[in-house]
Symmetry: C2
Protein backbone atom coordinates (compact mmCIF):
# COMPACT_ATOMS: atom_id res chain seq x y z
CA UNK A 1 0.00 0.00 0.00
CA UNK A 2 1.44 3.30 -1.07
CA UNK A 3 -0.31 6.45 0.07
CA UNK A 4 0.44 10.06 -0.71
CA UNK A 5 2.72 12.29 1.33
CA UNK A 6 -0.40 14.20 2.40
CA UNK A 7 -1.95 11.01 3.75
CA UNK A 8 0.93 10.43 6.18
CA UNK A 9 1.47 14.11 6.96
CA UNK A 10 -2.07 14.24 8.32
CA UNK A 11 -1.03 11.75 11.00
CA UNK A 12 2.01 13.87 11.83
CA UNK A 13 -0.36 16.87 12.07
CA UNK A 14 -2.55 14.98 14.53
CA UNK A 15 0.56 14.44 16.65
CA UNK A 16 1.37 18.16 16.43
CA UNK A 17 -2.16 18.91 17.63
CA UNK A 18 -1.64 16.54 20.55
CA UNK A 19 1.51 18.53 21.43
CA UNK A 20 -0.43 21.81 21.24
CA UNK A 21 -3.11 20.38 23.53
CA UNK A 22 -0.37 19.76 26.12
CA UNK A 23 0.88 23.32 25.70
CA UNK A 24 3.96 22.05 23.85
CA UNK A 25 5.37 23.67 20.69
CA UNK A 26 3.18 21.88 18.11
CA UNK A 27 5.46 19.58 16.15
CA UNK A 28 4.53 16.00 15.31
CA UNK A 29 6.23 13.16 13.47
CA UNK A 30 5.55 9.66 12.20
CA UNK A 31 7.81 6.99 10.70
CA UNK A 32 6.46 4.96 7.80
CA UNK A 33 7.89 1.62 6.72
CA UNK A 34 6.42 -0.38 3.83
CA UNK A 35 3.38 1.88 3.78
CA UNK A 36 2.66 1.35 7.45
CA UNK A 37 3.06 3.88 10.28
CA UNK A 38 5.36 2.12 12.74
CA UNK A 39 5.93 4.98 15.18
CA UNK A 40 4.45 8.36 16.04
CA UNK A 41 5.49 11.07 18.50
CA UNK A 42 5.09 14.72 19.36
CA UNK A 43 7.26 17.30 20.99
CA UNK A 44 7.46 16.80 24.78
CA UNK A 45 10.26 19.16 25.84
CA UNK A 46 8.16 20.91 28.51
CA UNK A 47 6.39 17.80 29.81
CA UNK A 48 9.66 15.91 30.16
CA UNK A 49 11.78 18.99 31.04
CA UNK A 50 14.18 17.82 28.37
CA UNK A 51 15.43 19.83 25.39
CA UNK A 52 16.18 16.59 23.54
CA UNK A 53 12.53 15.43 23.55
CA UNK A 54 11.69 16.71 20.06
CA UNK A 55 9.15 14.74 18.05
CA UNK A 56 11.80 13.45 15.63
CA UNK A 57 14.16 12.22 18.37
CA UNK A 58 11.41 10.24 20.03
CA UNK A 59 10.05 8.81 16.81
CA UNK A 60 13.54 7.68 15.71
CA UNK A 61 13.99 5.85 19.01
CA UNK A 62 10.50 4.36 18.82
CA UNK A 63 10.87 3.22 15.21
CA UNK A 64 14.23 1.56 15.92
CA UNK A 65 12.59 -0.20 18.84
CA UNK A 66 9.82 -1.55 16.59
CA UNK A 67 12.29 -2.64 13.91
CA UNK A 68 14.80 -4.12 16.35
CA UNK A 69 17.67 -2.33 14.61
CA UNK A 70 19.31 1.08 14.78
CA UNK A 71 18.96 2.01 11.11
CA UNK A 72 15.85 3.36 9.38
CA UNK A 73 17.18 2.90 5.85
CA UNK A 74 13.89 1.68 4.39
CA UNK A 75 11.73 4.19 6.25
CA UNK A 76 10.33 7.66 5.64
CA UNK A 77 10.05 10.16 8.46
CA UNK A 78 7.25 12.71 8.21
CA UNK A 79 7.48 15.79 10.40
CA UNK A 80 5.32 18.90 10.42
CA UNK A 81 8.26 21.34 10.67
CA UNK A 82 11.73 21.27 9.10
CA UNK A 83 14.06 19.43 11.51
CA UNK A 84 16.51 21.42 13.64
CA UNK A 85 20.26 20.73 13.71
CA UNK A 86 19.93 18.19 16.53
CA UNK A 87 17.18 16.23 14.81
CA UNK A 88 18.89 16.36 11.42
CA UNK A 89 22.06 15.00 13.04
CA UNK A 90 20.03 12.16 14.55
CA UNK A 91 18.34 11.50 11.21
CA UNK A 92 21.81 11.39 9.65
CA UNK A 93 22.95 8.72 12.10
CA UNK A 94 19.71 6.76 11.47
CA UNK A 95 20.37 6.71 7.70
CA UNK A 96 16.63 7.19 7.22
CA UNK A 97 15.57 6.60 3.62
CA UNK A 98 13.54 9.78 3.24
CA UNK A 99 12.50 12.84 5.19
CA UNK A 100 9.27 14.69 4.35
CA UNK A 101 8.58 17.90 6.22
CA UNK A 102 5.83 20.50 6.16
CA UNK A 103 6.68 24.06 7.16
CA UNK A 104 10.18 25.44 6.75
CA UNK A 105 12.06 26.80 9.77
CA UNK A 106 14.35 29.58 8.67
CA UNK A 107 15.53 30.34 12.22
CA UNK A 108 16.46 26.86 13.42
CA UNK A 109 16.16 24.54 10.43
CA UNK A 110 19.00 22.24 9.41
CA UNK A 111 19.07 23.40 5.78
CA UNK A 112 20.68 26.65 6.83
CA UNK A 113 22.76 25.56 9.82
CA UNK A 114 23.79 21.98 9.00
CA UNK A 115 23.02 21.34 5.32
CA UNK A 116 25.15 18.17 5.24
CA UNK A 117 23.71 16.61 8.40
CA UNK A 118 21.57 13.99 6.67
CA UNK A 119 22.93 10.85 5.06
CA UNK A 120 23.80 11.57 1.41
CA UNK A 121 21.28 8.95 0.25
CA UNK A 122 18.37 10.41 2.22
CA UNK A 123 15.71 11.89 -0.06
CA UNK A 124 14.31 15.16 1.29
CA UNK A 125 10.91 16.67 0.40
CA UNK A 126 9.76 19.92 1.98
CA UNK A 127 6.55 21.92 1.92
CA UNK A 128 3.99 19.10 2.21
CA UNK A 129 0.85 20.62 3.77
CA UNK A 130 3.02 23.54 4.79
CA UNK A 131 0.11 25.92 5.37
CA UNK A 132 -1.57 23.62 7.89
CA UNK A 133 1.76 22.83 9.61
CA UNK A 134 2.79 26.49 9.81
CA UNK A 135 -0.68 27.60 10.98
CA UNK A 136 -0.40 25.41 14.09
CA UNK A 137 2.94 27.03 14.97
CA UNK A 138 1.71 30.58 14.33
CA UNK A 139 -1.43 30.13 16.43
CA UNK A 140 0.62 28.64 19.26
CA UNK A 141 3.11 31.48 19.41
CA UNK A 142 0.41 34.13 18.99
CA UNK A 143 -1.31 32.81 22.12
CA UNK A 144 2.03 32.71 23.98
CA UNK A 145 2.68 36.40 23.44
CA UNK B 1 35.49 24.12 44.72
CA UNK B 2 37.01 24.75 41.33
CA UNK B 3 39.06 21.99 39.81
CA UNK B 4 40.99 21.90 36.56
CA UNK B 5 39.55 20.79 33.24
CA UNK B 6 41.81 17.73 33.49
CA UNK B 7 40.25 16.79 36.84
CA UNK B 8 36.75 16.56 35.33
CA UNK B 9 37.89 15.12 32.01
CA UNK B 10 39.28 12.13 33.90
CA UNK B 11 35.73 11.30 34.99
CA UNK B 12 34.52 11.60 31.42
CA UNK B 13 37.37 9.25 30.42
CA UNK B 14 36.23 6.71 33.01
CA UNK B 15 32.80 6.82 31.36
CA UNK B 16 34.42 6.31 27.96
CA UNK B 17 36.22 3.25 29.36
CA UNK B 18 32.89 1.93 30.64
CA UNK B 19 31.52 2.29 27.10
CA UNK B 20 34.54 0.42 25.67
CA UNK B 21 34.02 -2.37 28.20
CA UNK B 22 30.48 -2.82 26.78
CA UNK B 23 31.86 -2.87 23.24
CA UNK B 24 30.45 0.60 22.58
CA UNK B 25 32.36 3.36 20.76
CA UNK B 26 34.27 4.80 23.74
CA UNK B 27 32.88 8.27 24.39
CA UNK B 28 32.07 9.52 27.88
CA UNK B 29 30.64 12.74 29.28
CA UNK B 30 29.96 14.46 32.60
CA UNK B 31 28.09 17.64 33.50
CA UNK B 32 29.58 19.86 36.20
CA UNK B 33 27.58 22.46 38.11
CA UNK B 34 29.16 24.59 40.86
CA UNK B 35 32.22 22.36 40.88
CA UNK B 36 30.18 19.20 41.38
CA UNK B 37 29.56 16.42 38.87
CA UNK B 38 25.76 16.20 38.66
CA UNK B 39 25.46 13.70 35.79
CA UNK B 40 27.60 11.22 33.91
CA UNK B 41 26.95 8.98 30.91
CA UNK B 42 28.59 7.00 28.16
CA UNK B 43 27.67 6.04 24.65
CA UNK B 44 25.04 3.29 24.57
CA UNK B 45 23.95 3.22 20.92
CA UNK B 46 24.54 -0.53 20.54
CA UNK B 47 23.18 -1.57 23.93
CA UNK B 48 19.99 0.45 23.44
CA UNK B 49 19.82 -0.06 19.63
CA UNK B 50 19.36 3.69 19.38
CA UNK B 51 21.45 6.10 17.31
CA UNK B 52 20.41 8.95 19.62
CA UNK B 53 21.99 7.37 22.72
CA UNK B 54 25.25 9.31 22.55
CA UNK B 55 26.96 10.17 25.84
CA UNK B 56 26.15 13.87 25.51
CA UNK B 57 22.43 13.32 24.79
CA UNK B 58 22.04 11.15 27.85
CA UNK B 59 24.03 13.41 30.13
CA UNK B 60 22.00 16.48 29.04
CA UNK B 61 18.76 14.64 29.90
CA UNK B 62 20.21 13.39 33.21
CA UNK B 63 21.55 16.81 34.24
CA UNK B 64 18.22 18.52 33.47
CA UNK B 65 16.54 15.86 35.57
CA UNK B 66 18.85 16.60 38.50
CA UNK B 67 18.39 20.36 38.16
CA UNK B 68 14.64 20.19 37.61
CA UNK B 69 14.89 22.54 34.62
CA UNK B 70 15.60 22.24 30.92
CA UNK B 71 18.49 24.69 30.72
CA UNK B 72 22.10 24.02 31.68
CA UNK B 73 23.17 27.65 31.57
CA UNK B 74 25.40 27.46 34.67
CA UNK B 75 26.92 24.09 33.79
CA UNK B 76 29.96 22.78 31.95
CA UNK B 77 29.74 19.64 29.86
CA UNK B 78 32.93 17.58 29.54
CA UNK B 79 33.09 15.03 26.75
CA UNK B 80 36.01 12.95 25.56
CA UNK B 81 35.40 13.54 21.83
CA UNK B 82 34.21 16.64 19.95
CA UNK B 83 30.38 16.52 19.79
CA UNK B 84 28.68 15.52 16.53
CA UNK B 85 26.03 17.64 14.80
CA UNK B 86 23.17 16.01 16.75
CA UNK B 87 24.84 16.51 20.14
CA UNK B 88 25.93 20.06 19.34
CA UNK B 89 22.34 20.85 18.35
CA UNK B 90 21.14 19.45 21.68
CA UNK B 91 23.81 21.42 23.54
CA UNK B 92 22.60 24.51 21.71
CA UNK B 93 19.04 23.98 22.91
CA UNK B 94 20.32 23.38 26.47
CA UNK B 95 22.16 26.73 26.46
CA UNK B 96 24.97 24.99 28.39
CA UNK B 97 27.46 27.48 29.83
CA UNK B 98 30.58 25.73 28.56
CA UNK B 99 31.65 22.71 26.56
CA UNK B 100 35.06 21.12 27.11
CA UNK B 101 36.06 18.30 24.80
CA UNK B 102 39.11 16.10 24.39
CA UNK B 103 39.89 14.69 20.96
CA UNK B 104 38.75 16.43 17.78
CA UNK B 105 36.52 14.61 15.30
CA UNK B 106 37.28 15.85 11.81
CA UNK B 107 34.83 13.39 10.18
CA UNK B 108 31.72 13.99 12.26
CA UNK B 109 32.48 16.93 14.58
CA UNK B 110 30.16 19.94 14.78
CA UNK B 111 32.92 22.50 14.18
CA UNK B 112 33.03 21.52 10.52
CA UNK B 113 29.39 20.58 9.85
CA UNK B 114 27.36 22.86 12.15
CA UNK B 115 29.72 25.57 13.47
CA UNK B 116 26.81 27.72 14.71
CA UNK B 117 24.95 24.93 16.52
CA UNK B 118 25.90 25.96 20.04
CA UNK B 119 24.38 28.93 21.88
CA UNK B 120 26.43 32.06 21.12
CA UNK B 121 27.28 32.45 24.82
CA UNK B 122 28.61 28.90 25.25
CA UNK B 123 32.36 28.87 25.88
CA UNK B 124 34.12 26.06 24.00
CA UNK B 125 37.49 24.53 24.92
CA UNK B 126 38.94 21.68 22.90
CA UNK B 127 41.98 19.44 23.24
CA UNK B 128 41.85 18.71 26.98
CA UNK B 129 43.62 15.33 27.51
CA UNK B 130 43.21 14.79 23.81
CA UNK B 131 45.89 12.07 23.58
CA UNK B 132 44.16 9.89 26.19
CA UNK B 133 40.73 10.52 24.67
CA UNK B 134 41.91 9.79 21.11
CA UNK B 135 43.89 6.71 22.20
CA UNK B 136 40.70 5.04 23.49
CA UNK B 137 39.02 5.61 20.11
CA UNK B 138 42.03 4.39 18.10
CA UNK B 139 42.41 1.20 20.13
CA UNK B 140 38.69 0.49 19.80
CA UNK B 141 38.61 0.82 16.03
CA UNK B 142 41.90 -1.06 15.61
CA UNK B 143 40.33 -4.06 17.37
CA UNK B 144 37.15 -3.77 15.28
CA UNK B 145 39.04 -4.17 12.01
Amino acid sequence: MVNSHEYYMKFALREAEAARDRNEIPVGAVVVCNGRIIARAHNLTETLTDVTAHAEMQVITAAANVLGGKYLTGCTLYVTVEPCVMCAGALGWSQVGAVVYGASDDKRGFRKFAPEALHPKTVVTGGVMKEECAALMKEFFKKKR
